[in-house]
C-alpha cells in the first residue's frame, strides 16, 4: 500500500489492517513518525515527538495483536493536544509558563486511550492555554494550515487539526472551551467532536474555564470519532463534574437511517451576516441529509447574539481563577533574581504568560472584582441560563440543530491579531454550545476556493449519538471528508 494512502486512512480502516496483520503497528507508527519528520518543519503542528516511546508501545501492541489480546484501538498511533498531562512527557499548554513542565500523572483521557491500546507519538501545538482561534498565541510559534501555508489552522486545537489533515496521525485529541475543536476542524477539513459537558473527564487537562472545558476526538470520519469517544468518555472519581451516566458504545450504535430526523436551522445563524459562500456549502450539505430523509425546520434561538458577550465574561473570569496557580513557586516559569515574593509573582506571571492570556486574566479579574461582580459575572451567568433555555425550547421541536462551524475559511496570519474582538468573532457559532454544555460536531462540507468549510451539528445534552449518526450518514453519501491537502507537495 502506498504510504500516502496509509497516512490518509481512517482509524477504522487502519484497525482492520492491523487485525488482518496486513500492517504491523511498528510499521504504521514508523510511517506516521516519518511523515511528522518530513512535514512538521513546515507546519509546526507538533511540539514534542516521543519517537522511542511510541515504537516501544507499537511493539507491545503488535504482540497483543498477535496473541488476540487487542483492545479497541490497539496499535493505532495518535497525537495528543499539549494540554493533556502526560506522565514523564513535557506538557507545555503552548506557554512559556509551562515550557519545562513534566507532569507526574496522565490525564484521564490519556490513560483511558492508553488502556484501549493507542500508541502516543507526541504532543500538538496549540494556542497558549487554549486561548485563541488561530494558533497564533502559542509560545512555540504559529501552526500553518496544510491547505495553505499562509493561513492559520484555527485554534486552539490548531496543531491537532493541522497534524491530522497533513497525515501525521490518524487520530488526535483536542479540547473545546468555546469552539477549539470545531473551528480548527472546520478550517483544516476534518471531523471534530466536542462532547457534552461532563461526558469526558477533565482530570489532567490543564484548566482554562472549568464550566466550559471539554475534551474530544478529531479524526477523518464521524465513525472514527464515535470509536474514540467511546474510549475517552465516562465518569471519573477524579472529576466531580464528570457525568454519572453509562457510556453507550457510540460506534456499535451508529445508524445511517436519518428518515424523519428533524434538523433545526436557527434563523440567527443563517441571517444576512452569514458569508454567502459558507451558506451555500452548509445548505448543500444539509440538502444531502434532506435527500436521505431528514426534515429541515426553521427555528429561533432569540438570544444567540448575547453568547459572545456572555462567554467573554465567564471564560476569562474562570481563567483568571484557574491561572492564579501559576505563581513561580511550585511549578512553571520563575523569573530571574526575584527581589521579594511580590516581585517573584509579578515578574514570573508577566514574563511567563503571553499577551492574550494576560488580557483574559485582566478581563476576568475585573469581572470578578469588588463592585463589578454583579454587573459582569453574575449578569453573564444569568444570560447563560437564558441562552441555555433557548436551546431547550428549540430541542422540543427538533432533534439536531445545524449551522456553520465558523464564519469563513482559514484566514491569513496576522489578519485578526490587532483586534481581539475580531478574533473572538471566529467562534460566534460555537460559543453558545459550550455555554449550554451541549455536544457539537464539525464535519467537512466541501471547499471554497480550495479551502475547507465545516458544517456544525449540535445535539441534545448527552445525545452525541444523534449528531454522530447524521454526520456518519452524510459521509456515506458524500466525499467531502476524503479531500486532503497536497501531501506530496508538502513533503517535497
Amino acid at each position: 500500500m502506498a504510504d500516502t494512502q496509509l497516512l490518509t486512512s481512517s482509524v477504522c480502516q487502519l484497525r482492520q489492517l492491523l487485525r488482518d496483520r496486513s500492517v504491523s503497528s511498528v510499521e504504521l507508527t514508523q510511517a506516521f513518525l516519518n511523515q511528522i519528520e518530513q512535514v512538521n518543519p513546515k507546519l509546526n503542528a507538533v511540539v514534542t515527538v516521543c519517537h522511542d516511546e511510541a515504537l516501544e508501545e507499537a511493539r507491545l501492541a503488535d504482540s497483543q495483536l498477535a496473541s488476540a489480546e487487542a483492545k479497541t484501538l490497539t496499535g493505532v498511533p495518535l497525537l495528543h493536544k499539549d494540554i493533556f498531562c502526560t506522565r514523564g512527557i513535557r506538557t507545555t499548554c503552548g506557554s512559556r509558563m509551562l515550557e519545562n513542565f513534566i507532569p507526574a500523572y496522565d490525564a484521564t483521557v490519556v490513560a483511558k486511550l492508553k488502556a484501549e491500546g493507542v500508541v502516543a507519538m507526541g504532543k500538538c501545538n496549540m494556542d497558549e492555554f487554549a486561548m485563541g482561534s488561530s494558533n497564533e498565541t502559542s509560545y512555540f510559534g504559529t501552526v500553518k494550515n496544510p491547505w495553505n501555508l499562509d493561513c492559520v489552522p484555527g485554534g486552539s486545537s490548531g496543531g491537532s487539526a493541522a497534524a491530522l489533515a497533513a497525515g501525521m496521525a490518524p487520530l488526535v485529541t483536542g479540547t473545546d472551551t468555546g469552539g477549539s475543536i470545531r473551528q480548527p476542524a472546520s478550517l483544516c477539513g476534518i471531523t471534530g467532536l466536542k462532547p457534552t459537558y461532563g461526558r469526558v473527564s477533565r482530570l489532567g487537562i490543564i484548566a482554562f474555564a472549568s464550566s466550559l472545558d471539554q475534551a474530544g476526538p478529531m479524526a477523518r470520519t464521524a465513525e472514527d470519532c464515535a470509536l474514540a469517544l467511546t474510549a475517552m468518555a465516562g465518569i471519573d472519581p477524579g472529576d466531580s463534574t464528570s457525568a454519572d451516566l453509562a457510556v453507550p458504545d457510540f460506534h456499535a450504535a451508529l445508524c445511517s437511517d436519518v428518515e424523519g430526523l428533524r434538523i433545526g436551522l436557527p434563523k440567527q445563524y443563517f441571517n444576512e451576516d452569514l458569508n454567502p459562500s459558507v451558506r451555500e456549502r452548509v445548505m448543500t450539505a444539509l440538502s444531502e441529509l434532506e435527500k436521505a430523509g431528514a426534515v429541515l425546520i426553521d427555528i429561533d434561538l432569540p438570544h444567540s447574539h448575547y453568547a459572545i458577550a456572555t462567554y467573554y465574561v465567564i471564560a476569562p473570569a474562570e481563567a483568571s481563577a484557574n491561572l492564579a496557580r501559576y505563581d513561580g513557586v511550585r511549578f512553571g516559569y520563575r523569573c530571574d533574581n526575584p527581589q521579594d515574593l511580590e516581585d517573584l509573582y509579578l515578574r514570573s506571571r508577566s514574563e511567563g504568560f503571553g499577551e492574550e492570556v494576560q488580557r483574559r486574566i485582566l478581563v476576568g479579574t475585573y469581572a470578578l472584582s469588588a463592585g463589578f461582580y454583579d454587573a459582569y459575572f453574575n449578569k453573564a451567568q444569568q444570560v447563560r441560563r437564558v441562552i441555555t433555555q433557548d436551546f431547550s425550547r428549540a430541542f422540543e421541536q427538533v432533534d439536531v440543530i445545524a449551522g456553520p462551524s465558523a464564519p469563513g475559511v482559514a484566514f491569513p496570519f496576522g489578519a485578526k491579531q490587532q483586534d481581539p474582538v475580531s478574533m473572538y468573532m471566529e467562534d460566534i457559532y460555537t460559543l453558545a454550545v459550550n455555554l449550554a454544555g451541549l455536544p457539537g460536531l464539525s464535519v467537512p462540507a466541501g471547499l471554497i476556493d480550495g479551502m475547507p468549510v465545516g458544517l456544525q451539528l449540535i445535539g441534545k445534552a448527552f445525545d452525541e449519538q444523534t449528531i454522530l449518526n447524521a454526520a456518519y450518514r452524510l459521509q456515506l453519501d458524500t466525499d467531502w471528508h476524503l479531500a486532503t491537502p497536497d501531501l506530496a507537495g508538502m513533503a517535497s
Binding site: A104, Y197, S240, D343, Q358, L362, Y376, Q382, Y424
Partner: protein, 95 residues
C-alpha cells in the same frame, strides 16, 4: 463603561501582572474594546433569572475520603523551579 490606564493598572495588580509604561496605552485600549463588547449584556433583562454556573445544574458530587494514589512527592517536586531538601524555595519573606 470606559476604563482608564489607572483602572487597568489596579486590575493588573490584583491579578499579579505588571504592565510596562510603554504598553499601558495599548493594553488599556484593547482591554476597553473587550469591555465594550461585554457591556452588551446590560441590554438584556434578566430579572429573576437564577445564575447558571454549571450547564446541567449539576451538584458537586462527594467521594469517599480514601487513599487512591501512592505518594509521588519526588515526581511532583521535580517540576519546582527552585527547591532544597524537598521544600519549595521562595525569596526571604520575614526578616
Amino acid at each position: 463603561m470606559p476604563v482608564s490606564p489607572q483602572d487597568v493598572e489596579k486590575v493588573a495588580l490584583l491579578a499579579r501582572l505588571t504592565i510596562s509604561e510603554t504598553d499601558l496605552a495599548e493594553v488599556t485600549e484593547r482591554f476597553g474594546r473587550v469591555l465594550q463588547l461585554v457591556d452588551e449584556l446590560n441590554t438584556i433583562d434578566t430579572d429573576g433569572v437564577i445564575p447558571m454556573s454549571n450547564p446541567h445544574d449539576m451538584e458537586q458530587r462527594l467521594r469517599p475520603d480514601a487513599v487512591t494514589r501512592t505518594n509521588n512527592r519526588s515526581d511532583l517536586m521535580a517540576s519546582a523551579p527552585a527547591q532544597e531538601q524537598g521544600y519549595f524555595l521562595v525569596p526571604k519573606v520575614i526578616d
